[in-house]
Symmetry: C2
Subunit: 163 residues, 2 copies
C-alpha cells in the first residue's frame, strides 16, 4: 500500500501543515491587534511575514513532489487556535492578557516544531534533500520564534503579577 | 481584576492541563495497542505510567493552591488527539503506521512542553516554588519522552520507506 508508506505520510502531513500555516496566517493579525505591549505586537507582525514565507516553502515542496498545493483540515491547529482565542477573550482587559497570548502562541510554535521536525526527518529518509532543507529552514525559524516569545514573556509575566 | 492576572492565568491553565493529561491517559492505551513495534508499545505504556504521575502532581498543585482539582475542556488536546486517531486509522495496515503514531505522540509532547514551560515560569514569578518544582519535574519527563520518541522514529522511518 504505497499511500500508507513514509511518502504517503509525508504528503498527508504536508497537506496538514499547509492548512495549519494558512490558519495561523489568519490568526496572527488578530493576536497582534489584541496584544498590549508594542514589542509583542511587533513580534506577531514579524512572525506573520515569516509565516507567509513558510507557506511559500510548502508550495515549493508540493511543486518538487509534482503535487497541487492543497490543505487537509488540521484538527490540532484548529483546537490550539481556538484555545488562544478563548484566552484572548477571557483575559481581555486583565494584566495577564499578554502572558496568555504569548503562551497561546508558544503552543502554536511547539505544534509546528513537532510537525516540521517529523517532516524534515521523513524527507531526509526518503532522499528528498531539497524538501528536507526547506522544512529545516522553517523549523529553525519556529524555534527562534519560540525563544523570542520566551524572552518577551519575562516582562509580560512580571507585569501580570499585579491584579 | 484579580482573576485576570497571572494567578488567574495559572489556575486557568492548570485546569486546562488537568483536562489534557486525563485525555492523554485515555488515549495512550489505544496508541500502545495500535503500535506494531514492541519498543514503541513499551514506550507508550511507560508514558502511561508517567502520565498517571503527572495527574498526581497536578492534584498536588491544586491542593497547594487550596483548590479542588477540576478540568476545563482543552480544545487543543482534543484536536491533537483527534488528529492522532485519524493517522492511526488512515495508516492502519501500512508500513508508516508507527512513524505516524510517533509523530502524533510528539505533537502531544510538544503541546505539554509548551504548557508546562509556561506554568513553571508563572509559578516561579508568583513565588510558588513548590508548584514550580512540580511543573518542572513533569516538563523534564515530557522532554525526555519527546527525545525517546525521536530515537524510536529512526527505525520506524526506515521501515516505512518501503510500500
Amino acid at each position: 500500500m504505497p499511500d500508507k508508506n513514509l511518502n504517503g505520510l509525508l504528503v498527508h502531513t504536508l497537506k496538514d501543515v499547509y492548512f495549519a500555516e494558512n490558519a495561523i496566517l489568519k490568526a496572527l493579525p488578530k493576536m497582534a491587534k489584541a496584544a498590549k505591549e508594542p514589542a509583542l505586537q511587533k513580534a506577531f507582525q514579524t512572525h506573520l511575514q515569516q509565516t507567509e514565507g513558510h507557506v511559500v516553502r510548502l508550495e515549493t515542496v508540493f511543486k518538487l513532489l509534482k503535487l497541487k498545493p492543497e490543505g487537509v483540515p488540521c484538527e490540532a491547529i484548529k483546537g490550539i487556535l481556538k484555545e488562544g482565542d478563548e484566552v484572548g477573550e477571557e483575559f481581555d482587559g486583565g494584566s495577564a492578557l499578554d502572558a496568555g497570548l504569548i503562551a497561546a502562541a508558544q503552543a502554536v510554535e511547539h505544534y509546528e516544531i513537532a510537525r516540521y521536525g517529523a517532516l524534515k526527518a521523513w524527507a531526509t529518509e526518503l532522499g528528498l534533500g531539497q524538501a528536507a532543507n526547506l522544512f529545516g529552514e522553517t523549523l529553525t525559524e519556529e524555534e527562534a520564534t519560540d525563544e523570542l516569545l520566551t524572552g518577551l514573556s519575562k516582562k509580560s509575566n512580571k507585569m501580570a503579577v499585579a491584579a
